[in-house]
């Protein structure tokens, strides 16, 4: 890993400019440490020795860029990750949402959908899925395509089952999916109330009004400026007293919007918009 050509901060800046100018994706306000790692990994995987060569491929091969984009963004996700969070959702947030005739939830940065499937299961068990609309968005079209299929690797199900039980799950977890070879397919009924669509948090705007926004472990890939802009977007997209769920190590403490939210649970990072 050490023998590969290094990438300097200046070279990364140049790449960001190239991608923005040529393809319109703006990574300028992404966290540099993570982005540097991803670019290095892409170069290793594609056996591209220098940043000069990488620039050549990016400028001349659209199909290479599609692969590069897919590899650059982190698409890792889990079902019922952080069971304590889902327990809080079930016990504290969902009962409050029940008072709305139509519940609207936004999963921002949904990757391949595992958290969306988890939310749908939770809502089904609380008897609310029928009157919920889940908007699940991601920057990456390949992720959305996979998410719509509702498939999850079979190898992950043991862990997800344990997570589900710890989160206070009420049913047999296996009743929600069908195993097919090396993957499972989630019950299509779970996805009937879900709309997957492309949305770029960097450039796109408010598109609806929600009672709950889940954006867990997405902001960590952004710098503070972009985090502030996205949190403002979330504030503007929430109804008064709407809920915002962040990742376990994402904090509002130093963010511009901090005084406009109150903590519902500081430990699992659930916040609520003040009126």
């Amino acid at each position: 890993m050490n023998d590969t050509s290094d990438i300097t901060p200046e070279e990364l800046d140049d790449l960001i400019q190239l991608i923005k100018g040529h393809y319109g994706y703006d990574f300028g306000d992404y966290s540099r440490a993570s982005l540097t790692r991803r670019v290095r990994q892409c170069m290793e995987k594609a056996k591209i020795p220098t940043v000069y060569d990488l620039r050549f491929h990016l400028l001349n091969e659209t199909s290479f860029f599609a692969w590069f984009l897919q590899s650059l963004t982190v698409n890792v996700t889990e079902m019922f990750r952080d069971p304590a969070f889902y327990r809080n959702l079930r016990e504290t947030v969902i009962p409050r949402l029940a008072s709305y005739p139509l519940i609207k939830i936004w999963h921002a940065g949904c990757a391949t959908g595992e958290e969306v499937f988890s939310m749908a299961i939770l809502l089904k068990e609380e008897g609310l899925l029928e009157r919920t609309r889940i908007y699940a968005t991601d920057i990456n079209p390949a992720n959305l395509e996979k998410a719509r299929k509702g498939t999850v690797p079979l190898s992950a199900m043991k862990e997800y089952t344990a997570n589900y039980i710890r989160s206070g799950g009420k049913a047999e977890f296996s009743s929600y999916y069908e195993a097919r070879y090396d993957e499972v397919v989630m019950d299509p009924a779970l996805l009937e109330r879900v709309l997957f669509s492309q949305h770029n948090l960097v450039t796109d705007q408010v598109f609806n009004e929600f009672q709950l926004i889940c954006c867990r472990n997405v902001l960590i890939y952004f710098n503070k400026d972009l985090q502030n802009r996205v949190l403002k977007l979330f504030y503007d997209s929430l109804v008064p007293f709407g809920y915002l769920a962040l990742g376990m190590k994402e904090s509002l403490l130093f963010m511009d919007v901090r005084s406009q939210f109150e903590a519902v649970s500081e430990s699992v990072k659930v916040f609520r918009r003040k009126a």
């Binding site: 050490n2 966290s31 540099r32 540097t36 790692r37 990750r81 952080d82 960590i220 890939y221 190590k249």
Partner: protein, 214 residues
């Protein structure tokens, strides 16, 4: 060190004394001590933290292989013997001298040019998240020669490439003497990737990072 007499004790050899003397002037130039370990490293880390003086001019970052979805009190366990409070940083927290940070469960811990943390939730590396390599590598990128990396007991080769990166960037690399490790694979891999790394026993590492103590 009481209660753990089963670990082979190593008297400071002439070799390591020479090495220690050779690097004794390096610690004042260190802004960041980043420590990685896996199986068998927790008792060593507890002793290291115990040996830290009440205040110290560098930050300490710990990356320990740990389970991901179960409640963990690792921060409290590590700080239990010591006056030092162990902090699991939030994303974008600044790295401050005199503090001890622990990579949170189920994230990689990276370091930004402005000396803040970034968390990363990409694929596990060497079956681990947090993994030692990415933290060591980004520490090398940002702190360069003002970084000291220490690789402790562990059962796989995570951290070896990162340790080499720290050396390449002009920093200081240390491995726990494999003879003192419950699981020597990790420091051995570190030595293969970074042959110039210093080989020190736990007590020597402790005196290295707390030079003010006699």
């Amino acid at each position: 060190m009481s209660g753990r007499s089963s670990r082979p004790s190593v008297s400071p050899s002439k070799y390591s004394e020479e090495k220690r003397n050779a690097v004794a002037d390096k610690i004042p130039q260190t802004d960041l001590v980043v420590i990685g370990g896996s199986a068998g490293c927790v008792p060593v880390i507890i002793d290291l933290l115990d040996a830290l003086p009440p205040s110290f001019p560098f930050a300490v970052v710990l990356v320990i292989h740990r389970q991901k979805s179960v409640p963990s009190e690792m921060d409290k366990v590590l700080g239990s013997n010591s006056h030092v409070r162990v902090i699991e940083p939030n994303d974008k927290d600044f790295i401050l001298p005199g503090r001890v940070y622990l990579a949170p469960q189920n994230y990689h811990l990276l370091i930004e040019q402005d000396r803040s943390f970034s968390l990363d939730y990409s694929e596990p590396i060497h079956y681990s998240r947090p993994s030692i390599d990415p933290t060591f590598e980004s520490a090398a990128d940002v702190f360069g020669r003002r970084c000291t990396g220490i690789l402790l007991s562990g059962a796989n080769r995570d951290g070896a490439d990162g340790l080499a990166s720290i050396l390449q960037s002009g920093g200081t690399a240390i491995v726990q003497n494999p003879a003192t490790c419950d699981f020597p694979a990790m420091p051995q891999a570190g030595l293969e990737a970074a042959p110039e790394a210093l080989i020190l026993a736990p007590a020597e590492i402790a005196s290295f990072i707390s030079p003010e103590k006699p």
